[in-house]
Structures are given as C-alpha cells and as structure tokens.
C-alpha cells in the first residue's frame, strides 16, 4: 500500500440541530459523528461496523459529499473534499461513488435502467451517444446482467438484481473510491453472497477502493482489510481486520463479537445486561460505553478516552483506558 492515503478523515464532526431559536434559546443538538479520524489507502477495503445510531451512515454520506461535516477535514487524493463538494459535486462524484442500502428505493420507479445508468455518463463524463452505448454494455456485463434488462423498469427486478444495477451506476463514472452503505442488509441471505462476490470481483478488476459500512460483523469480517468499530458517533477501535476480530481490545468490540450469532454457537450473554445507549441530547462527559462496560472505573466516566495505539500491531488503536489484553 502506498504511503499517502487516498482518503483521510481528520477529526470529522457532524452536529444535527443546535443553533438558537428566534428568541435566543439554544436548540437541542445531537453529535451524530464526533472526532472521527480515519485513513483509507488505495486498493484496500475499510470496514466500518457499528449498531444503529452509531453514526456510520452519516460518515458515509459525508465522504461522498451528500452531507457536510460541521467540523474537521476530509481530504481525498490531496484535495479538500468538503470544499469541493460544496461548489462542484460533479468533480467529486467522478471519483467517489456510493451504493445505497435499499436497492429498490435507490432506483427511480419511473425510469428505465438505461436512463438511470446513462445519467452519470451524460452528466459526469459527458460521453457521446456511441461511447455511452458501449459503456452501458460494459457495465451490465460487469455486474452480470443481460443487456436487454436496460429497457426495463426497476419494479421488474428482484432485490439482488436491483442492487447490482445500483453497483453498476456507482461504477459508471469509473470512480476510485466507492462507499457501500449496508449494500447487502436488505437482501435475502442467498442473494447476499451473489452481491458480495460481484463486489469482490469488481474491486480486483478495476482496482477500486471500498469503504464498506455494515452492522453485520461476519459480512464486514469477510470483506475488509481494515476495520473501524463505531459507537455513539466515535471510532472506538480500528485496525487490521484480522487483529480486531481475533484480539478485540475495546470492551464494546468484545461485546459485539460475543453477541453476534453464528451457526453452531449458543449465546453467552447475560439476559439482563444494560443495552441502552446514552441520551444523545445529554451525552456523558466520558466514555459513552461506561454504563454498559464491565471494566469501567471512575476515570472512564470523567474523561474521554483517546483513540491511541495499542498492542504490537501497527495501526491497531482503541479508545479505552482499560482495554482487554492482547495475546
């Protein structure tokens, strides 16, 4: 992997709400993403995993320029992504694309597949008619769909096929980075594998870089080179996928891995443990996982643990004062 990261997120922050009302009372604010620092290198897949409300989708939208951070920087290929998205989203969209969670909702029900796939070719690449035709065939082939499907409407497709069209659209502009936001969670299990295999194949073929967002640990484990675990808007642990999954250091990562159902495994979790997230309007001063954490001390409640290098492996970092031991 080259030294300069393709994408680097520095202390990114996204606050929803906030500000003041007409009469000067402060409005409630929620920190959806807070102090997130991550790097993505060319050719790798960064998995982002976390439960609902952890800010992973907000992070994804900020990377493609659909949402702007309220603080921090996002740098893509040496350029300030936030500033660029603000004045010319098209330039960014040629290089950074997005695959949506709900494949059917991401296709306009009143447009044919051809119209949908042509849009990026016209607006982003300004291709002529003949070039477009050639590219459309290429794209359909890349996602393993017959070219005659181009004239059909989205409702005629199953979820898996629709998601492949979504992937084809993201590929159309020949981007460098694709953000995949829960690309398989709306699909039936037998179809998930089809889509995951196609993604794998495309990455190798076109030298793509992925940011893969999911709540499903086993899916993230199977696709990612590196993994970031998010909780309550922050990254709590990041590192090589294998290391994080084999030797989780943060107690939350530990809990996640212990909770995930797997064939042949009985659950080991106590049924009365606290599962409540902190109140987002009134976050605790220290670690957000404090109330649920079996290893917590007073220090955890008073201070925010920083995301620091931990253990022997390079780049393995966790935000915890009392991490689990490495092996």
């Amino acid at each position: 992997m080259s030294d300069a990261p393709l994408l680097s997120i520095e202390k990114a922050e996204r606050v929803f709400g906030g500000g003041r009302t007409l009469f000067g009372q402060p409005k409630p604010a929620v920190h959806a993403v807070q102090d997130v620092t991550l790097e993505v290198h060319k050719g790798e897949t960064l998995g982002v995993v976390g439960e609902s409300g952890c800010g992973k989708s907000t992070l994804a939208r900020m990377i493609v320029g659909l949402d702007a951070p309220t603080g921090g920087r996002i740098v893509f290929d040496g350029r300030d992504l936030v500033a660029e998205a603000g004045h010319d989203l098209r330039r960014l969209s040629r290089e950074v694309q997005y695959v949506f969670q709900d494949p059917v909702a991401s296709l306009n029900p009143r447009k044919t597949i051809r119209t949908i796939l042509e849009a990026p070719l016209i607006h982003l690449l300004k291709l002529g008619k003949a070039d477009r035709e050639r590219r459309l065939i290429e794209l359909m082939d890349a996602v393993n769909l017959a070219p005659e499907f181009l004239e059909r409407y989205p409702h005629e497709f199953s979820g898996g096929q629709a998601q492949r069209i979504g992937i084809a659209r993201a590929l159309a502009a020949d981007p460098k980075l694709i953000v995949l936001d829960e690309p398989v969670s709306a699909l039936d299990v037998s179809v998930q594998a089809q889509v995951l295999n196609i993604l794998d194949d495309l990455k190798a073929r076109f030298g793509l870089t992925y940011v893969f967002i999911s709540h499903d640990l086993s899916v993230v484990e199977s696709v990612s080179d590196r993994v970031a675990v998010m909780y309550f808007g922050r990254v709590v642990e990041v590192g090589e996928g294998r290391t994080v999954f084999r030797e989780p250091r943060h107690p939350y990562t530990h809990l996640l891995l212990k909770s995930a159902p797997a064939p042949g495994r009985r659950s080991l979790i106590a049924e009365d443990a606290n599962t409540e997230l902190p109140d987002p309007y009134n976050p605790p001063p220290g670690c957000a996982f404090y109330a649920r954490c079996p290893r917590h001390t007073d220090q955890c409640n008073a201070q925010m643990p920083p995301l620091e290098d931990i253990g022997a492996e390079e780049g393995h970092r966790a935000a915890c004062f009392h991490p689990h031991e490495g092996r």
């Binding site: 969209s93 997005y98 709900d102 849009a119 769909l145 594998a193 995930a260």
Partner: protein, 647 residues
C-alpha cells in the same frame, strides 16, 4: 444465471405490460364508467351548444314568462323573463365547465409548483412557503373567496380567480407532502451523485412520481370547484346578467321558488349531475392510480383466517408428547385471479419446553405457516385450504371463533418482528399489559397492574412500576420487545409463536433477547415455534430446525445434525452462502437464480432449477418428505449424505 432470471422475470413482465391499461381498469369500475359516460355526454352537449338548434339564451320574451316544462317549443319551460331554460341550461353548463376547469388548472399549476419547490428544497424555503400557505388556509375556505370577490367586485372572472386562489393551498399541501417524502428517498441522492442539478432532479426525477397525485387531487377537486363557482354565482357574485352560468340561473330562480320551482330545480339538478359524474369518475381515477388501493391494502382483514378445507383429515391422534401438532397445512392467497400457494402442506410438532426453528428466505412461507395456526393470516386474501392444527388434540381449524379468542394469548401466544409497530402507539405499556391479563383472567385492574409489574420484572425491565406509564415510542427497541415477551407470558402459555422476534434489533440487544427467551421457556416449560432466516440465531435457541423453501419443508432434524451435515442441497447452500464470524477466508457459495413464484410452482422439486445436483427425475414428479435417519426428514431424491448419494 441470466437464463434463470429471465424466465423468472417473465410473469412479472407480462403483468407489467398491463400498465397502459389504466383505461381498461377504469372501465372495470361500473360507477366510474357511469360517471365517465354522463360527464362525457354533458361535455359533448356543452361543446356542441353553438351547433344545436337552440333559441338565443339571452333573448327575453315577457309574454312567454314562466312556462312549465314540456311546453311546446320550450322543452324545459321558460324563466321569469321568458327565456328558454333548455338553451340557458346548455349555455350555462358551458360556462360553468369552463370556469371550473380553468380554476382547477390554475390552482393545480401554482399549487403543485409551490408544493414541489417547498417539499424538495426543505429548510427555510419550505418553512416560508408553507407558513404562507397556512395563513391562506387559516381562513374558512369560502370566506376568503368572498373577500377577494368583495374587493375585486362581482364578476365571473373574479370569481374564477378567487376560487383558484383559495384552492392553491390544497394542491400545495398535498404535493409538498409527497415531494418531501420523495426527496428523502435514496434515488434522489443517487441522481445527485450521477451529476444531476437540482432543477433536473426536481423536474425529471421527482415530478414524474408526483404526477399521479396531482391528477388525483385535480380529479377530486374539480367537482368541488364547479360547486363553488356556482355558489358564488348563486349569491350574485359570479356571472353577471345577461350572461348566465348554472349558479346564477339557480340564484335567479330562488326568488320565484314557491310559484315556479322548476326554474331553480332544473339548473340545480344539472349541477348535481355534473358534479356527481365528475366525482364518480374522480374516485375511479383515484382507485386506478393509488397503489394502496390496487394492492388491496385497504381491504379489511377479518378477526380470523378463513378456513376452506374440504374435509378434515381422518387421523386426529396427535404425535406423542406434542402440544402442537400441525399436519398437511395449506394456506393460499388470492390476488386478482391468481392463487399463491404460500404454504403447500406442512407438518410440524412442538413439544413442551422445546424450540422448533423454521428457517427460510423471504417468501418461503415460514411466517404464513406460523400465523395460520391461530388464524392470524389476513383474510382476505388468505385462507387455510387444508390440513389440521391440533393443540393438545383439539382441532384449531374447526374450533369456534370464541374458542380461538380464548386460546389466543393464553395457551398460544405470539411475539412479532418489529416491536414498534406491534405495540399500539396510543396506549401505555401498562394499559396494554393489563388488557392482555384481563382478556383471559377476570381480575380487578389493581390486581392486573400488580401482575403486569411482575411480568416486567420477569423480563428484566428495570423500574417496572415506572415503565408501566411509558408509551411504546418512549422505550428502546430491546425494551419494547421485552414488553412483547412479557405480554406473551401473561398467562400460562404452552406454545409461543415467535415470528423473527430479533430481526429488527441490534446484535447486542438480539443476543440478550435470545438469552432471555431461552431462560424463560425453560422456566415456564413452554414450547417455542421460532421463525427466522438466520442460522446463527437458530443455533442460539432452537433444538430442532425445519428448512422451508417455496411453501414446503425441505429438511427437518436437530439443529446440530442439520448444521453439521445438511442433506438437502438447498440447506447446504443456504448455510454456505453466509459469511461466518471467525472464518473470514471462507468462500461464499452463492445460490444463483431466484426462488420460484408460488403461483406458478413446478411439478417436481421447486429447487431443481437452482440445484447443482438436479437430474431428470427431480423435475418429473412431486418429491415426498422421506425419513432420513432418526427424527430427521428430507425432501430430496439425491441428498448429500447417506446411502442415496451414490448417483
């Protein structure tokens, strides 16, 4: 692959070619057709008015005043100034139609534009535009029109403006709601990332999806606008003499109501016929264009699934030790002439304290099988067409409605998927628990409350007495599902039917809820029928598993056996196509193609089209479920393990 998919897609394709047949759909509706015919006739006559041999509508003839209808030369009589009523009626209809349609178009154009922009832009623009619209709507409808006419002065054109202006808010509000929803949809973000500008997204992506709503709103308001302009004319504020529309004719006639009622009754009848025909037609148009009505989403389901089995099975002796014993269960859905065999003959038995898992993909019929047992499949369109469900030997499909009600929530209870939508949003958790308790136990409210607190304690909810006062939306997903489980345990349930109870929950919450259910079933010695799509979840809680495909069980056995040595190729594929935690290098074995649609099942094995082991004989005849070792069955003639694999 492409072949399998394109064959699967064909029926859909054929159905979709019926899309331009909106008119045919409309004509299916007798009332709408009647409306169309009457409206068409009125429009035709009004258009032809200059060609018809009619006397001049405005020529007065004092000598001929107030002729009754059917007078010679004056089919509908004459009015107070001796003018021919038939002629005035036709010319007046022309004016009323023109004004009504123009007002509708003006209101639709400006209203939709405001609504689209407000809904799409959101934020300040939305707030500003909608506050303005709210201001206009803060006036009682007709009053604002009156105020506008008062200032502009009476006259037909002014009345038209007034009616159009006061109707703009209706369009703006309706369209804004739809546009707002659409603008948050993912395809709008997708279009933005495809490089489209805001104007392109608004008019090329959003507008086509809003158009049906604009048409529905137009077709339902046009009748109303004709009524309102007629009303203004009736009050003398619209059409001014000598010009007449239907309203002003009615207004003129009112003064001589007692002496010559026909002068006012006839134009009123005409307004009524016109508006009624438009409304009938408008309702028809709405029914055709509104997807909710098309999909039958507005049919009321009855309290219990209809049972239409021809004859109950003879053998009614339950399997030894089983509390619930289902045999040959068949459940069908009927949509538009098509029969969907959602469940095509399912046998299952659940013993006390045992957890049976049914695993399958969406559309496999696993939920329908489970919901059929206590008659919770919506009818219409569902009905149970065969089989028997025995609860401790009692045939549930033959039981009375009252008996089923007594059993629901007591001997057999349910836990559903999404705990937010399954709890009533307007009642507190306490009210809903108390109701569940009192449904089968004639205790006082205080006693029921105490029991409710006990139940919440049992499912490990902290501060149970406080939580009773909470509404469902105030609790987290995990807490809500605990409440649902508490409700299922309100009485001594022998069987709990759990339909994907943890699918909507986060992993850590899911793990806890599963542990809780596992502990409770042991404490209460209750059997669980557990529906899921996830083999990991199955491992966590189920003793035995049934794998379902296209409405039938393809394999049953203990969880360990099926996971370690699946016999049916589908089971094996289903296990292999999911990534497993801790095995990141496992190759994912995708199942190509899609499951068959249950209204068009093949004769032989339903999985044959996607099965790598399929042979000629698989497609020839139905495959029976055969014994495959101790307590294990498989529906395959070329299974993966055992003696029969030597093919």
């Amino acid at each position: 692959m492409a072949e399998a998919t394109s064959t699967a897609i064909k029926p859909v394709k054929r159905a979709s070619s019926g899309r331009p047949n909106t008119l045919a759909l409309l004509l299916n509706n007798t009332l709408a057709t009647a409306g169309l015919v009457v409206f068409g006739l009125i429009v035709l006559i009004a258009l032809a008015a200059p060609l018809l041999p009619l006397p001049d509508p405005d020529v007065t003839a004092p000598a001929n005043r107030l002729f009754r209808p059917l007078t010679e030369g004056h089919l509908l009589g004459t009015d107070a100034l001796g003018r021919d009523i038939l002629s005035r009626l036709i010319w007046g209809t022309r004016v009323s139609l023109l004004v009504g349609i123009s007002a509708t178009l003006i209101a639709a154009f400006f209203g939709s534009l405001i609504g689209l922009v407000a809904g799409y832009a959101g934020g300040r623009v939305d707030t500003l535009l909608m506050r303005g619209i709210d201001m206009v709507m803060a006036f009682p409808y007709i009053l604002l029109a009156l105020a506008i006419v008062a200032v502009l002065g009476p006259g037909l054109l002014n009345a038209l403006y007034a009616i159009a202006v006061v109707n703009i808010p209706f369009f703006a509000r309706n369209i804004r709601g739809i546009a707002l929803g659409l603008s948050r949809r993912e395809f709008v973000d997708a279009a933005r990332l495809s490089g489209k500008s805001n104007a392109q997204i608004l008019f090329i992506e959003v507008l086509p999806n809003v158009l049906p709503v604009i048409i529905i709103t137009m077709s339902t308001t046009i009748g109303w606008m004709i009524l309102e302009t007629a009303g203004l004319s009736f009050l003398g504020l619209g059409a001014q003499p000598p010009q007449a529309d239907l309203g002003s004719m009615l207004g003129d006639g009112r003064k001589i109501l007692f002496t010559a009622p026909h002068v006012s009754i006839i134009p009123g009848l005409m307004i009524f016929a016109l508006v009624m025909s438009i409304n009938l037609l408008g309702d028809g148009v709405r029914d055709v264009l509104d997807p909710r009505l098309k999909s039958g989403a507005l049919t009321r389901p009855v309290a219990r699934t209809a049972v239409t089995r021809e004859n109950a099975p003879q053998d009614m002796t339950p399997v030894a030790g089983a509390i619930l014993d289902v045999r040959g269960l068949k459940t069908e859905f009927r949509f538009g002439g098509q029969v969907y065999k959602a469940v095509g003959g399912v046998d299952m038995a659940v013993r006390r304290g045992e957890c049976l898992g049914i695993v399958g993909e969406s559309g496999s019929g696993k939920s329908v099988s489970a919901m059929s047992i206590m008659g919770l499949v919506p009818t219409p369109p569902g009905s149970i067409t065969g089989g028997v469900a025995l609860l401790k030997g009692e045939d549930l499909f033959a039981a009375s409605d009252e008996r089923i009600r007594q059993l629901r929530g007591s001997a057999v209870s349910h836990v559903f998927q999404d705990p937010l939508s399954t709890l009533h949003p307007l009642f507190t958790v306490g009210d809903q628990l108390v109701e569940a308790i009192q449904a089968h136990d004639p205790v006082s409210k205080t006693q029921a409350r105490e029991k409710a607190i006990d139940l919440l304690t049992m499912v490990r909810i902290p501060n149970p007495a406080e939580r009773l006062k909470s509404y469902p939306h105030e609790l987290s997903g995990g807490m809500r599902q605990r409440v649902c489980i508490a409700m299922a345990l309100a009485h001594d349930a022998q069987i709990i039917i759990a339909d994907e109870p943890t699918t909507a929950l986060d992993v850590t919450v899911q793990a806890q809820v599963l542990s809780l259910m596992n502990t409770l079933r042991k404490e209460h010695d209750a059997g669980i029928l557990f529906i899921t799509h996830d083999f990991g979840v199955v491992s966590a809680i189920c003793d035995r598993v049934a794998v379902m495909y296209a409405g039938q069980f393809v394999e049953t056995g203990t969880t360990e056996e099926i996971l370690s040595a699946p016999a049916h190729p589908y089971t094996a594929k289903l296990i292999d196509c999911v990534p497993v935690l801790g095995q990141p290098d496992r190759r994912l074995d995708a199942i190509e193609g899609r499951p068959p649609v249950v209204n068009n099942l093949p004769v032989g094995c339903a999985f044959a089209a996607r099965c790598p082991r399929a042979q000629e004989d698989c497609r020839a005849a139905p495959i029976p479920l055969t014994e495959f070792g101790e307590g294990r069955t498989v529906r395959c003639i070329h299974p993966l393990t055992g003696e029969t694999t030597d093919v």
